[in-house]
Symmetry: T
Subunit: 70 residues, 12 copies
C-alpha cells in the first residue's frame, strides 16, 4: 500500500486543537482516507497584545486510491 | 544529583494537554519524582475527517534514587 | 520596514494557549506592534504525577519604530 | 524547467529497498517523469519480536509537464 | 481558511532570485492564490569551474479554493 | 494507553535490515509488545577497505503494561 | 569582550542582498558596532504569480559597550 | 550484540567534564558495561551573575547483558 | 511570570567554562535575575597551531521585571 | 591520536549496502586505516518508474598517519 | 563511480552568487570535475552599518579520478 | 580569498579543551593558516564507571594557498 503525505495549514480563533481539526475537516471534503496528521508548526496572529488566531502547519497522510496528481 | 530522562507517549480523545497529563500520571505510578516533561512530538489519529485522538511524545525527567535499570 | 524578533517564555496552570497569551500580553505592555508569535518549545512542570504548570518558549515579531536597544 | 516534489510512503515485508521501489512504481502509474527520490524516514512494524514490514517515507521529484494541481 | 503547501524546484542561469521567480510563475499558471514562498535549499550546477545554473527548492503556500487533490 | 520508547543498537555482518531485526529480537526476550521501531542512525565498521559489520540505532515503542522502571 | 546577538527581519522588492542591507542599515541607526550578520531564513511575498518582496531573517552580532537591556 | 542507550543528566559546581563524570559514576553503580557517552546539552545555573552549577545531558551506551526493562 | 531569553557571546583564553562565566558576569551588570544559560555554540580562535581563545554562544534567561525593550 | 573525516558518495544498481561498500573500497585504494563510516543520506535514481541506482553519502573516519592535505 | 564532497568558503563584495562563483573557480584550478555545489551557510561582514562582504559556505562534489588524499 | 574546512577528531585523557588543542596542533604540522575551529561533537570513552578519554569532532578552517587536493 502506498500513501501520500500533503502539507496543509489551518487556523482557529479558539485553540490549537481546533485549528488542526478544521484543516483536517476541509481536506476530507475531497480526499478520503486521511488517517493520521503530524503537527509541524504552531504560530499565532496577535493584535493589541492579544492572540486573535492560532495557525498550524500539519502533514496529513492518506492511502493512494486512484491517481496521484502532478 | 543525577537524573534520568525517559521517553513516553500518551493519548487522549480531548486535547493535547490531556494526552500529556495521562502519560505523566501513568508513569508516576511506578516512578517517583518526575518534575518536568518536554513535549517533543504531536500527532493525531483521524477518522472520517475528524480528529478522534491526540497523541504526544514526551521526555520525562526525574532524579535517580535507587537503581538505574538496564 | 525592519522588524525585531525577541524570545520570551510564558507559563500557565491551565493550558498551552494561555501560557502563550500571558507572555504576549506582558510583552505588549512595553512593546507595541507585536503581530505574530511562533511557539518553539513546550514543557511542563510536574508535581506528584500531575502537570501543575505549562511553560512555553515563543518568538515574537514586531516592527521597529523608534530605537533598537543594545 | 520547474519540478514538483511530493512525499510518499511505501512498505514491503522484504527490505528497505523494496519498500522504496514499490512506492516509486505505484506513483509512476499516474505521474510520468519521476527521476529521483530521497529516503527521509525508515520505520518498521514489529510483531512477536520480528520485523514484519519495512515502511519508508520518500520525496519524489518530477518535471512539471502539464498542470500543477491544487 | 485552509491552505496547502507544495514543494517545487526552479532554476535559472542568472541568479537565485530568478530561479525562485520562474518556479513561482510556472506554478501560478494552474494554481491561483500563491501568496508566499519559503526558500529551503540552494544548489548550483557547475561546468568547467563555472556556475552554469542556480537551482532552488521552495515551499509555496496558497488558499484551498475548490478541491485538494490526492 | 501509555507507551514507552527505548533506544537500542543492533549489528549484523550481513545487512542493515538484519541489524535492526537482531536488536528487535533481543529486546523482545524481556519486553513484550514492541510494535514499531524507527531507524535513527546507520554506521558501519570497516576493516581493510571492506564493511565488516553494519550497526544501527533504533527507537522501539511498546505499551506500558506493568511497571515503568527507573 | 562580550557580544550580543539580535534577530531582525528586513525586506526589499529587489533582491535578497538588499533585504539584508536594509535591515543592517536600520539597526545601525541606534546600535553601533554591528560587524557580522548570519542569514537564517529567506521567504518572499507573491502576488499574481510574481515575487513582489523578498524577506529575510538575520542574526546581527555587535560588542556590548554600555548596557544590555532587559 | 545488542546495546541500550539511556539519557541522563549530571551536574557539578566545578566544570562540564566533572558533571559528565559524576553522571557516569552514578549510573555505573547499577549498570555495568557503560563504554561510551555522548554529551548532548550543556546548561548552567546562575546566581548573582555567577555560574554556580554546570548541568549536562548525556546519552550512555552499554551492552545488554541480562534483561532490558520496561 | 514572563521571562526573556537573550543571546550573547563570551570568550576566554583559558577555558570554555570561563568564556561562559565572563559573558554571564558582563550581562549581570545591567540585567538582574539571570538564572540559567544554555551553551549553544563552541568555537575557538587558532594561531600558529595553538588555540588562543575559546568563544561561546549562550542563551541567557531572566524574569521580566520592569520593561521589555524594543 | 588525531583522525580525519571525509565525505564521499557511492552508488550501486543493487542495494544501499553495496553503494556504501563500493565507496569504502574505492577510498581504501589510497587511504589506509578507514575504520568506520556513517551513512548520512540515501537517494535513488529512477527511470520509467523503477529505481535504477541507489546513491549514498557517507562520512569515513581514519587515523591521520603522515600528512593532512590542504 | 565514487565522488568526494569538500567544504569551502568564498566571499565577494558584490553578491551571494559571486561569492559562490569565486569559491568554485578557485577550487577548479586544482580539482577537475566539480559538477555541483550546495550552499550551506550565508553570512556577511558589516562595517559602519553597511554590508561590505558576503561570505558563503559551500559543499562541492566531484568524481574521484586518481587518488583521494588523507 | 577562498578557505577550506576539514573535519577532524581529537582526544585527551584530561579535558575537552585539550582534545581540541591536540587535534589543532597535529593538523598544523602539515596545514598552515588554520585560524578557527568549531566544536561539533563531544563524546567520551568510559571504563569501569570512569571517563578515561574525551573525544571531540571539530571543523577547522584555513585559507587555500597552493592547491586543494582531491
Amino acid at each position: 500500500m502506498v500513501e501520500k503525505i500533503i502539507e496543509l495549514t489551518g487556523s482557529s480563533v479558539n485553540s490549537i486543537e481546533e485549528a488542526v481539526s478544521l484543516a483536517v475537516a476541509r481536506a476530507a471534503v475531497t480526499i478520503s482516507g486521511i488517517y493520521q496528521i503530524q503537527l509541524t508548526d504552531i504560530t499565532a496572529q496577535v493584535e493589541d497584545g492579544r492572540v486573535v488566531r492560532w495557525k498550524v502547519k500539519i502533514k496529513a497522510t492518506f492511502p493512494v486510491k486512484d491517481r496521484i496528481h502532478e
